[in-house]
Amino acid sequence: MALFSKTPPVDERRDLFLTDATLVDPATGREGPGHLLVRDGRIADITWGAASDAPEGFQKIDCAGHVLAPGLIDLRAFVGEPGAEHRETLASASAAAAAGGVTTLVCMPDTNPVIDGPAIVDFVLRRARDTACVTVLPAAAITKGLAGQEMTEFGLLQEAGAVAFTDGLKAVRNAQVMRRALTYARDFGALIMQHVEEPDLVGEGVMNEGEMASRLGLIGIPREAETVMLERDIRLVRLTGARYHAAMISCADSVEIVRRAKEDGLPVTCGASINNLVLNEGDIGHYRTFCRLSPPLRHEHDRLALVAALNAGVVDVIVSDHNPQDVETKRLPFAEAADGALGIETLLGAALRLVHTGDVALPRLLAALATAPAGLLGREAGRLAVGAPADLVLIDPDVPYVLDKRRLKSRSKNSPFDEARLQGAAVMTFVAGRLVFRAADHAEAAA
């Protein structure tokens, strides 16, 4: 990594010639040596094979054989602006995203005020334009004030720039409201992203129901809290024909439900949190509140089922479920602490665990982190293709390090990967051809 401190500073205004890279295009599954030209913020040319000289007027960046791939697209990040800027702002979230190789993030509507009207979508987009270094796309609420009763203005919100609809941490509990929302959303082609948890079955639960919760004396959340809601929603999708995305599934039974829905040709997709893919309930240990999540960390066999589902394409996308929480909501007894963990900056490093263990191939992993989410949002990014936005990440997949939460760029520090040994990190991140992150600090710290 020390290598990159030697490269000259990248001039933001100039077009780029990224050479000696290992190109990985998750959209086609192709990987191999090559180089790539960036002009006016877009990919101008891709050459697979041996390197050539830099064309006139392009700044040459030596990728030193590292992986050059489309930037990551995170469909689920809680930001806190407006309303909870002490936890995270668009600026700090985007800095964390850039450091993690994420070039597009979808921010959740449970801000204060809630993103449930066009004016607030507009506010977030303007704030992001002025302060954020990566692309920020707001998701709007399904129901006004996230109250689960009245539908929001799907049409006007989409026109204002909302890319999807979700009630964030809440599920739409009322089946009639959900039915109408799905019916109406279909007319606008809107994407409904549901947090699949039946609130009554969650009850006062704080972790996965089972032996471990019983031993810790904590109230469990049954897998049925997820599967009951998922089954209900899929019935409603069958009824309405709307595009439905289960934001995060966490257990083996849910994988089966989604697989069947897809086989039936329903417009159903699903995501999985990086936490559920690389951690299990055992990571809670003696009441680590940073591992208190929604959906909860499940049993190892659920994790393995999710990894298999990722390979089989049943799980479409991996999300960070980035949820900054401050000390006051986490330094509490487990049952009293808030749900949520940081994730956007560690998304890539944690996901690469699956590559290093041999469970998932790198192109498949990047497809779930970039290509599939771009497809759901109808964006051109997420692929190495001429004409696509030059949202790129240069990855050193092998660099080992111990994560230090104090070095994270987020305003909060609730990372479940604190002190974890990770391997692989972003070296440089480009958004529309502009360098937004380089790992120089990291490299110096590691050296």
Binding site: E211, S214, L216, L218, R331, P333
Partner: protein, 371 residues
């Protein structure tokens, strides 16, 4: 009193008895009662363990307790548990004397920090600390700044700055005591955390059983009632199994934790079947808020199927003994005639509570600086 000497001598020949401690005193004291079948006279049911009046010589080296805190039974080895019980036997004898004081904790400060109201546990810890010579301070939530929004960790830091030597904590959230223990420099004793553990209750129950039955190994012990919400049940399951008992749990399925079958216990939802042949029937308190129909339909129905009355107790072993951690709901989980009857050990449990807590405080004091 001849047998006392004989027992003391037999112990003297066993170095490190804390690790392998076992009753092997003269058999005329009826530890064989359980083996020889039913005895019509109920007052003769209990085997008065020789330890009732036996006392280790003050000069004998106490077996080391290798833990800084007592946060739960989980993580304690069988020798750890047996060493505490042996120490508690001494404390029982001490507490029955006119002069009840020791000086083990002289100059030490003990804070009882209770976030949940408690009468017997708090007074038991207070008495235990005072009998060992500690300065004991009681802090309960009603009078503390917790009500003003101070967090548990702030409270811990504040108390820690006062240099206590031992903090005894009860909290309504599982794991709260672990959290607190990480933030203070002194020894921490868990006096009950949520539905997680209540280690001193399990120790006092074990002590009570051992003194009455002469052993724990091989006994069939039923834990009945609200296992789901019970920290007492969790600690007892771990402890009694560690000492070789065969543990059953008896409750309606709504009051059983998921995965209870993986705790190594036999699970019964029919109390009549579950009680068959049990040597010890340990009842749990059903809390009022669980009776509103969300876990059990009514007190009446609960008592009919899961309350301990004479008829159901008759299904247990003829010399079965009854326990309850208190406070009891008479007529809900236990009928008054059983609670006050000849087979009841409930009052003795309270006495053992003080002794066990003295033992725990003493054991932990050995790890304190200048201890």
């Amino acid at each position: 009193m001849k047998w006392v000497k004989a027992f003391a001598m037999s112990n003297a020949r066993r170095p490190g008895r804390g690790a392998t401690w076992r009753f092997h005193g003269p058999s005329r004291h009826g530890s064989a009662a359980a083996d020889t079948g039913p005895i019509p006279d109920v007052t003769g049911l209990r085997a008065p363990g020789p330890a009732c009046s036996h006392r280790r010589a003050m000069t004998a080296p106490a077996p080391a307790f290798p833990h800084r805190h007592l946060l739960g039974i989980e993580g304690l080895s069988r020798p750890d548990i047996e060493a505490l019980l042996a120490r508690a036997d001494d404390a029982v004898a001490l507490s029955r004397q006119v002069e009840k004081k020791r000086t083990t904790l002289r100059g030490r400060t003990q804070i009882n920090l209770f976030f949940e109201p408690s009468t017997r546990t708090q007074s038991s810890f207070e008495l235990a600390g005072k009998r060992l010579g500690a300065d004991v301070m009681n802090m309960s939530v009603a009078s503390s700044s917790v009500k003003k929004g101070e967090t548990l960790i702030d409270t811990a830091a504040t108390l820690n700055a006062m240099h206590p030597d031992i903090i005894v904590v009860r909290h309504h959230a599982a794991g709260a005591v672990h959290l607190l223990a990480r933030k203070v420099d002194c020894a921490v004793v868990n006096a009950g955390d949520g539905a997680h553990e209540h280690p001193t209750q399990a120790l006092l129950d074990a002590l009570t059983i051992r003194r009455n039955k002469g052993r724990i190994e091989g006994l069939r012990i039923a834990i009945c009632g609200d296992v789901l919400h019970s920290r007492v049940a969790r600690s007892n399951i771990i402890l009694l199994q560690a000492l070789g008992a065969r543990v059953r749990v008896i409750a309606p399925s709504t009051l059983l934790p998921t995965g209870i079958d993986r705790f190594g216990v036999e699970v019964f939802t029919d109390m009549r079947k579950g009680l068959a042949g049990c040597d010890i029937v340990m009842m749990l308190r059903l809390q009022r808020e669980r009776m509103n129909g969300s876990f059990v339909p009514s007190v009446k129905e609960y008592f009919r199927y899961f309350g301990l009355d004479a008829e159901k107790l008759a299904l247990a072993a003829p010399d079965a003994l009854v326990m309850h951690p208190g406070p009891m709901n008479r007529g809900v989980e236990i009928s008054s005639d059983i609670a006050d009857g000849a087979q009841s050990l409930i009052r003795e449990q309270v006495e053992m509570g003080v002794a066990v807590r003295m033992a725990v405080l003493e054991a932990l004091a050995m790890h304190l600086p200048n201890g």
